[in-house]
Every structure is written in C-alpha cells, then in structure tokens.
C-alpha cells in the first residue's frame, strides 16, 4: 500500500491532508489509538509547514507519501512530508523544558515535542530545495 497526496500549503487544505492520511491508515487496519497519534503528528507537522515554511501569499505545496511496511509480522506506517520552503530541521530543535514552572515557560514548542514523542522514528533530510521529514510508527 502506497499513497501520495499533494496540495497547497494552506490551512484550508488541512482537512484534505488529514482525512487522506486517516483514510489510508484505516485501510491498513490501524487501531483508533494509533490513528490518533498519527493524525495529531501529521496535524502538527502540517500546520508548521503551512505557518512557517513559505512566505505569506507565496504558499507552495506539501506532498505526503505514506506507505505500509510489513516485516517480522509487524506493520509499520511510514509517512514522508515534503515541502519546498525554507530549510528547517526538526531534529535540531530542542525540546521545551517540560519541568519548568508554567508561569515562566513559554507555551510554544509543544508541536515538535509531540511529534518526537508519539512517533517511533523521526528523520530529516535536506535535498536541494526540499525539506524531507520522515516519521515511522508501528501500527
């Protein structure tokens, strides 16, 4: 099972992206709990690309490749998020200090933290003018 979807990096298309990913992993037979983690992860990554990757009024596209990998009786979902926006390496972003008291702590940075926590593997690659972010999760 392999699926690619592509649309403009605009918030109005968030639902198209998320619904497509959900439809795909439902066909792969994932449980509601796994679907929750994958959809939350995808939403955080997509909203970030929609917000930060491209200049306002010059929004490019987002392409998502999803694939089911089967090995040793395990089923893994691999999703690759590709944009042509400015260089951004999620792995170089430090996690927020979760132990800091909430009064002194800024409430950003949680999105990336959730992605790293909910997925089994996260990897980043810059390819010419593309950001290529891959996540893998056993489903």
């Amino acid at each position: 099972m392999f699926q690619v979807i592509r649309e403009k990096a605009e918030l109005v298309h968030l639902n198209f992206f998320l619904k497509s990913i959900r439809d795909f992993i439902e066909k792969a037979g994932a449980s509601e709990e796994k679907i929750f983690d994958v959809i939350l992860t995808a939403e955080e990554i997509l909203v970030n690309i929609m917000s930060y990757a491209y200049p306002e009024n010059q929004k490019g596209e987002i392409e998502i490749h999803c694939q089911i990998l089967e090995a040793d009786g395990e089923k893994k979902l691999k999703c690759v998020f590709i944009d042509e926006g400015k260089f951004f390496d999620i792995l170089q972003k430090e996690s927020p200090d979760l132990s800091a008291p909430i009064e002194t702590r800024s409430v950003g940075g949680l999105g990336i933290h959730l992605v790293k926590t909910l997925m089994d593997e996260v990897s980043y690659m810059r390819q010419v003018d593309k950001n290529i972010l891959s996540v893998v999760k056993t489903i």
Binding site: L14, F36, I39, L40, E43, I102, E103, V107
Partner: protein, 98 residues
C-alpha cells in the same frame, strides 16, 4: 467543535468544549474563550465529549491558566486519549488535568 462559557456569581467561569479541537477550530475558539474568562477567579475547562486536541489547544490552556492563580485553573472530564496528550506535554499537573 463548539464551546460555551458560563460565568457563575462566585467568579467561576466554566467553558464546556464539544467535538474535535483541531488547529483551525482552536483558532476560531480562542478569541471567545479569552474574552469569556476575562476577570474570572476560577476557570474550569470541561472536555466532556472532546476526543481529540491539537497542540494549539494546549497553548490555549496554558494561556488561559495564566489568568488566574495556580490551582484555580483546572481541566475536567478528560478522556484517556486526550489525557495522554497533556501528559506527554508535561502539562497534566500544571494545568490540574482531572
């Protein structure tokens, strides 16, 4: 997603959320929630019937909690899947997630 905030005479504001709170829905709700809790002494977010939240909602909770003294902000009726999101974000205790 819908939200309804009720102000009680003792300075307590209860906001009841319903449905999936994704990023776009949360952006829409933010203004009305922040206006409704203005001047409150105790804030309760009731998530009965909310089975999904994105990080933008965590941010809204953090922002709202700053409006009152610690312990005067709480989040109630949280289903397990949503509880997990608060937990892995390190916010369960700070936001009194119940």
């Amino acid at each position: 997603m819908s939200v309804e905030c009720t102000r009680h005479h003792n300075g307590k504001v209860v906001c009841k959320f319903l449905g999936r709170i994704d990023t776009t829905k949360c952006i829409d709700a933010e203004k009305v929630v922040m206006e409704s809790i203005e001047g409150a002494e105790v804030i309760v977010f009731d998530l009965d019937g909310v089975e999904y939240v994105a990080s933008s909602f965590l941010r809204l909770c953090g922002k709202a909690s700053h409006k009152v003294d610690t312990n005067n902000f709480s989040i109630v009726n949280v289903v397990p899947s949503v509880k997990k999101v608060f937990k892995v974000s390190g916010l369960s205790e700070k936001l009194n997630v119940q």
